[in-house]
Amino acid sequence: MNGRLEITGLKKRFGGLTAVNGVSFAVEPGEVIGLLGPNGSGKTTVMNMVSGALRADAGSIRFDGVELTRLKPNKIAKHGVARTFQLVRPLPTLSVAENVLLSFAFGRKRHWGREAQMLVEEKLEFVGLGGRGGEEVGNLTYIDQKRMELARALASEPKLLLLDEWLAGLNPSELRIGIDLVRHLQGLGMSVLLVEHIMEAVRALCSRCVVMSAGEVIASGESEAVLKAPQVISAYLGDDHA
């Protein structure tokens, strides 16, 4: 699995607000990288531009040698980039299995019929929802909806996975399971761009981090070093950590 994500000079304005202001970084193939920053620093906006939900005002996003910057989300998904949403977005009229089946049917490769059903069951098992494909998504707990959403993202068979605070809201034992899942994905060769506030998860998963503040990258590099950098502590971790 090859696939390098290279972001250069990315910009996005919302009216008078510059949400992302010249962001550049790269995700190497097979790397789990953390994208950190205080609330409103522009992390989700970067994710949205990579996945095609928003169009960048300037800059470029290249993945696997392909320019994604002007592509629609469905094309980007077919190039091997999948995402979860910060606020879970289950499709309520579809069953749990159908939510996942959708991505298999329209993802990077096309699966349908018997074969797809088996693949769906595999993915559900992988995220811990084995045997629950027939349930309505509305009846799932919040955590299980997050699991379903991960399965749906994985079902488009991405090379790069964008996780927007996917671990947020989990209790300590669920968090451990979540971290193991992401680590397992990395073991399979997948690159992951992880937006996360939970330091425990970042330390456990990311060898490198990029930290944003007010739309700009203020630090990047080895996680341990970045998390100790004074500008990061003052911008992001707040006074009580200083």
């Binding site: 996945s51 995402r83 579809l94």
Partner: protein
């Protein structure tokens, strides 16, 4: 095994329906004809609007385009070609309308499609009055009720087959996803605008053909007859009553409502619109997902 039984049963019912004009009076055939027309309209409407929840009130725009094409061309071209031209005009208008409106969401789409139907009607009226200087046209085609009925029956079968095929293909799943959340659908790899446009166009083309096939029934047509907005509302209510997200839903809604409307318009012609409105509200209020879903709920409730 079970499937074979279903297919045989379906063919038997179809044979019976095809033979119906020989078994029924002229009035009975006319009733069956009208009913088949509305079942086809409701099924075609639900094909697009059911899963995507884009409520279209443009039904009569396409229906009227079909009828008018036949009125204008029936003495110029052979009949099969007239139908083909009508279908192509319907398809073209649907693609133009689709490209310009399917970005609209919710109530804006509803209003636009309603406006579209009025716009088409006014344009045709203006054209007839000012350019051709005839308001109203005669259609002389050697068709009796049963001939029209058979054509509609064939169209209905094709419509049901298309709808069934879409429902079990991956596009059926994609359309439901679009109805739920277009952003998620796009991120799952679906070409959302393309798929919406395709379905809208297929649905509109079938609706155009219903209008075209039914046109000879009237012998005399004018814009206020074939562009009557009631057609759009009836189609909508029928599909909603039966349940637009199920293959048989529109049919289940169309049959009783068609009979009821026939009875109402025969017995209470002056109050028809009010009764129609009241019924509409009751259906939306008591059975927002339609009869079929209601029955399923009742069954599930009874079982547990």
């Amino acid at each position: 095994m079970k499937q074979t039984v279903f297919i045989l049963l379906g063919l038997a019912v179809l044979a019976l329906l095809a033979a119906a004009p020989y078994l029924l009076s002229d009035y009975g055939t006319a009733l069956l004809l009208g009913m088949t027309g509305y079942i086809t309209l409701a099924t075609a409407w639900a094909m697009f609007s059911g899963p995507t929840r884009y409520v279209s009130l443009a039904t009569v725009a396409f229906f009227g385009i079909g009828a008018y094409t036949v009125a204008v061309l029936s003495e110029v071209l052979p009949y099969p070609l007239v139908l083909l031209v009508a279908a192509l005009i319907g398809l073209t208008v649907a693609i133009i309308v689709g490209l310009s409106t399917l970005r609209l969401a919710g109530v804006y789409f509803v209003i636009f499609t309603f406006g579209l139907a009025e716009l088409v009607r006014q344009t045709v009226t203006w054209w007839e009055v000012n350019v051709t200087e005839t308001l109203g046209r005669y259609i002389f085609l050697p068709f009796e009720g049963r001939h029209i009925y058979w054509q509609l029956l064939a169209l209905l079968v094709v419509t049901l087959l298309i709808s069934w095929w879409i429902g079990r293909s991956r596009y059926g799943l994609a359309l439901k996803a679009i109805g739920d959340d277009e952003t998620v659908a796009e991120h799952a790899g679906i070409n959302v605008p393309g798929l919406k446009l395709a379905l809208f166009a297929i649905s509109a083309t079938i609706i155009t053909l219903v209008g075209a096939i039914q046109a000879p029934r009237w012998t005399y047509i004018e814009p206020s007859i074939v562009f009557n907005p009631t057609v759009s509302f009836l189609t909508l209510i029928m599909a909603l009553l039966g349940g637009p997200s199920k293959l048989w839903g529109p049919m289940v809604g169309a049959i009783p409502l068609f009979l009821l409307f026939e009875w109402l318009s025969a017995n209470f012609p002056d109050h028809f619109s009010i009764l129609l409105g009241a019924l509409f509200i009751m259906i939306v209020f008591f059975m927002p997902k339609g009869i079929l879903a209601k029955l399923e709920d009742l069954r599930a409730g009874g079982a547990s």
